[in-house]
Symmetry: C2
Subunit: 341 residues, 2 copies
């Protein structure tokens, strides 16, 4: 019927959607685990948990770190950011991941970009031992600028380790900081304002003080802490964990404290990684603001009994992640205090 | 430190985020069920499934129906769209929902809008008997136009009913169509092009042929089919279900057929609701294109044995949802054929 409106006229390309779906099926099936019992393309993804175990779910996005991916036209790293962030969140609850689902939304569907994004997601799922069970790829004309997309995800895991605070926190417990791999996925609106607007750098420029481009440093994926903490968790040496995301150390460590203790964090206990000292110097920001916006080099904090602190540090370091004693719990009322700012 | 960069300078308002979080906590706690075992604000939401039951998860977004919500400045309906869509998807797998998580992303966080959106989500969760376990509210400067946001969600349920195809499909099985409540959440780029661009209507104008505004008709929420199908599912009268979303009847019914049967759908078996006949007339679109884009008045199709068809129709109608016989399965190879186009 000549002249009739078609779906394509309104900006939706079903051929691109079909091509993308076929390529996604291959990526998704590569992440399949024993927990999964459905095939790609069903209305809902089916899976099994260990009978009787409590389940833990978490949702997150990548935030404006995506804007750096757009500028660098590099879409294979943001998937690891999202999966590792979500897996770290449920690890705090003592859970290991079973399945992950993604939501990718764009204005115009570019199959290659979506495949690059989901390729990164599926590799990160494999590294964390969880299945990419399904997801949604949405083409939404007029919502996103050309070449841009949003990316969110959702993890479900099951409790595998004794969890936060179950055995109680005690004054004298040590705080063990686990090194971050950089900015992870927080503070990117601040970073973009600083590096691209105020300093006028391009993603291909050298990052000040480092032998790497701005893109390389800003896109370094969020570290996954499950591999580094599995031994210590298995041995029940961890009393509690805090994942240091938006809000920094003060805005996350307070989420797990019991109301009878304060956490005293000595911020001079570790050397500020170069990328954070560059941000501090170039932004001239109040150090308290920086510690509430960025992880400042510490992506996870473990609370451990004093006589197990060194063993936990040794186990984390053996996994290839730096770790250090960065403070302690004292009698208090659930506050976090930074000392040495 | 005067002149230092702050997080607020880069477009992120932590006060608005804190205010929103406090109001969200009240909404979320109102949806709590016995399955939930964590409090608002934890890193991951904890819940329990019935031991031994298979789990089913699904992710979805609202798509460009959101643009209509923006135009009408009405944000309390899109939550029901999202929750009901996700719950319908896992119902096809025989699952009832346990928990839901949302992802709301915006350029500038307006607490009132977010609360209106999440208020709609939480009401829909309560109606479906599932808990709003958590979610992510992301403020992403430069991603979304002022006043706009994206909304996605994830559901996890457990298998409660015998599921699709388990007892096999047989030639002669009847197709029972369940009435949709309108356009649900598919085809909105087409609808926006037609009503706002080609016909030049505003959201406050009367919808052609109906005693309701364009906004009222286009924002009518996606129907939830769990309440209408629970009795028939419980009595094991349903052999299979197809949720009619993007791709219409041909693009969804084929997802559940076994390779030994075809589905013959008689499209003259039900009266096209006015809103769909208006779209057909005003767009002059190819009927086949319309049936691949819209649900055309049928939001869910149940496959049932012939001797149980009338009972299922009666049970669905008793719940307040219209239902009708709209075709049958014949010997074939997994194809869907529309007759009477």
């Amino acid at each position: 019927m000549t002249g009739g409106l078609t779906y394509r006229d309104s900006g939706v390309d079903l051929d691109a959607a079909r091509e993308t779906k076929a390529r996604l099926a291959a990526l998704v099936s590569g992440t399949r685990t024993d927990a999964v019992s459905s095939d790609f393309g069903s209305f809902g993804g089916r899976f099994r948990a260990t009978a009787g175990r409590e389940l833990v779910a978490s949702a997150d996005g990548v935030g404006t770190k995506l804007k750096v991916a757009f500028l660098a036209d590099r879409h294979d790293t943001v998937g690891a950011d999202l999966v590792n962030h979500c897996v770290n969140d449920i690890l705090v609850e003592g859970a290991t991941p079973l399945i992950f689902m993604d939501y990718v939304a764009c204005g115009t569907l570019d199959p290659d970009t979506v495949i690059e994004v989901v390729g990164g997601l599926s590799e990160a799922c494999k590294s964390n031992g969880c299945a990419l069970l399904g997801g949604e790829t949405a083409e939404m004309p007029d919502f996103y600028a050309p070449g841009e997309y949003d990316l969110a995800g959702f993890v479900v895991g099951e409790v595998a380790y004794p969890t936060v605070g179950e055995r109680g926190f005690l004054p004298g417990d040590r705080l063990i900081g686990l090194a971050s791999s950089g900015f992870h996925t927080n503070g990117y609106s601040f970073l973009r304002e600083l590096f691209f607007n105020r300093l006028g750098l391009a993603v291909t420029d050298d990052f000040p003080g480092l032998q790497a481009s701005v893109a390389d440093v800003l896109l370094r994926p969020h570290r996954a802490y499950l591999p580094s903490l599995a031994s210590s968790l298995e041995a029940e040496r961890i009393q509690g964990l805090a994942h240091i995301t938006g809000g920094g150390i003060p805005g996350n460590l307070d989420r797990v404290l019991s109301p009878t203790v304060d956490a005293v964090v000595r911020v001079d206990a570790w050397e500020l990684p170069t990328e954070f000292s560059v941000v501090a110097r170039e932004s001239a920001a109040d150090p308290a603001e920086l510690f509430q916006t960025f992880n400042m080099g510490v992506g996870m904090i473990a609370i451990v009994r004093p006589d197990e602190a060194q063993t936990v540090i040794d186990e984390v370091v053996a996994s290839g992640c730096d770790a250090f004693d960065c403070g302690e719990l004292v009698v208090g009322n659930g506050q976090v205090r930074l000392e040495g700012l």
